[in-house]
Amino acid sequence: MTSESAATAADVDAMNSVGEACTDMKREYDQCFNRWFAEKFLKGDGSGDPCTDLFKRYQQCVQKAIKEKEIPIEGLEFMGHGKEKPESSS
């Protein structure tokens, strides 16, 4: 068992990414998302996600890491950017 992350109740935004190079981007995105989630989304304002750019960069990094590590992710369209993102389309 690794000792780097706490066993069960660790903060997700303090955790690593599957791709080592993506960890910083991930944490930056997580902080942005957590803020939006708590202050906007849960209060009923789900539009206008301010984290889109951060997420795109982070996602590209993760996609690359997943391919390199041959992790079997299926059924998601993020690889082809085919999915609509309603929160950023308005």
């Binding site: 069960t8 690593n16 993760v62 992710i73 998601l76």
Partner: protein, 257 residues
């Protein structure tokens, strides 16, 4: 996961008055597996595999057919927990933490996809890396030196209905074992200052090599006469089981090539 090839077995309750004998069915694809609960031995050699057919209806009502597909259908373990905090507080913490007892050691979390649907619900797809910390015996049994397992999670947060539903399943080691679980966070029906978390889990063993390997391992290390051990508790729709079994056993010895 192809349900048609899965022999789902319920995990036996770890109780002294426990379970009845289990009879193994005819082998269709080489081997079958049934769960051994590791309690006192029975000499009865015949075993019955409780094949649980996948159901499409949910035990807990709620939306999200896609989550059901991800999670599988049969509840074999469930629990309920009440947090002494309102739903919003718990959800914020749940998104940030990973207090999930079914996944013992999450070492990495990534968001693969995130979007708000037409109903204003937030969908997130996440990839979790976990270190199971399996004992070396179990790793030897599983035939893997890998300890890092990947789990895929889909969650839906409905801020209007105040419901967060989370489904996850492992996407590696699926040839051996499948652990799916579902978590639902809702406000306590009687106290808005509290939140109820309901957890369900299904553990499916696809026991071809695992069953064979274990049988041979047991036969060699424990006794030259492989005893057929089984304790089984009848599965009822409201039965709750504590997941105990970590080994499967085959009815007839078969050695891996």
């Amino acid at each position: 996961m192809n349900p048609a090839h899965i022999r789902k077995v319920a995990l036996c309750a770890h109780r002294p008055h426990g379970c009845g004998p289990v009879r193994s069915p005819r082998r269709s694809h080489g081997t079958t597996a049934h769960v051994m609960c590791g309690l006192s031995a029975e000499s009865r050699p015949a075993h019955r595999v409780l094949t649980l057919r996948p159901r499409t209806e949910r035990s807990i009502p709620g939306p999200g057919a896609s989550l059901a597909a991800l999670c599988g259908a049969m509840r074999v373990w469930s629990s309920e927990h009440v947090f002494g905090h309102p739903w919003d507080t718990v959800i914020k913490a749940a998104m940030r933490k990973y207090p999930n007892p079914m996944n013992p050691c999450v070492v990495g979390v990534d968001v693969l996809e995130r979007s708000v649907d037409g109903r204003g619900r937030l969908h997130s797809h996440r990839l979790l890396s976990t270190e199971w910390g399996l004992p070396s015996l179990v790793r030897a049994i599983l035939g893997t030196s890998r300890t890092l397992t990947y789990i895929r999670e889909h969650s839906v947060v409905d801020p209007v209905e105040k419901k967060m539903e989370l489904c996850s399943t492992n996407i590696t080691l699926t040839n051996l074992v499948s652990v799916s679980e579902r978590l639902v966070y809702t406000p306590h029906p009687e106290d808005p200052g509290k939140t109820v978390l309901t957890q369900e889990a299904v553990i499916t063993v696809k026991g071809v090599s695992l069953g064979s390997y274990l049988e041979s391992l047991m036969a060699n290390t424990i006794s030259s006469n492989a005893k057929k051990l089984s304790r089984w508790k009848p599965l009822g729709p409201t039965e709750l089981f504590l997941p105990v079994a970590t080994i499967v056993q085959q009815s007839e010895p078969q050695f891996l090539p």
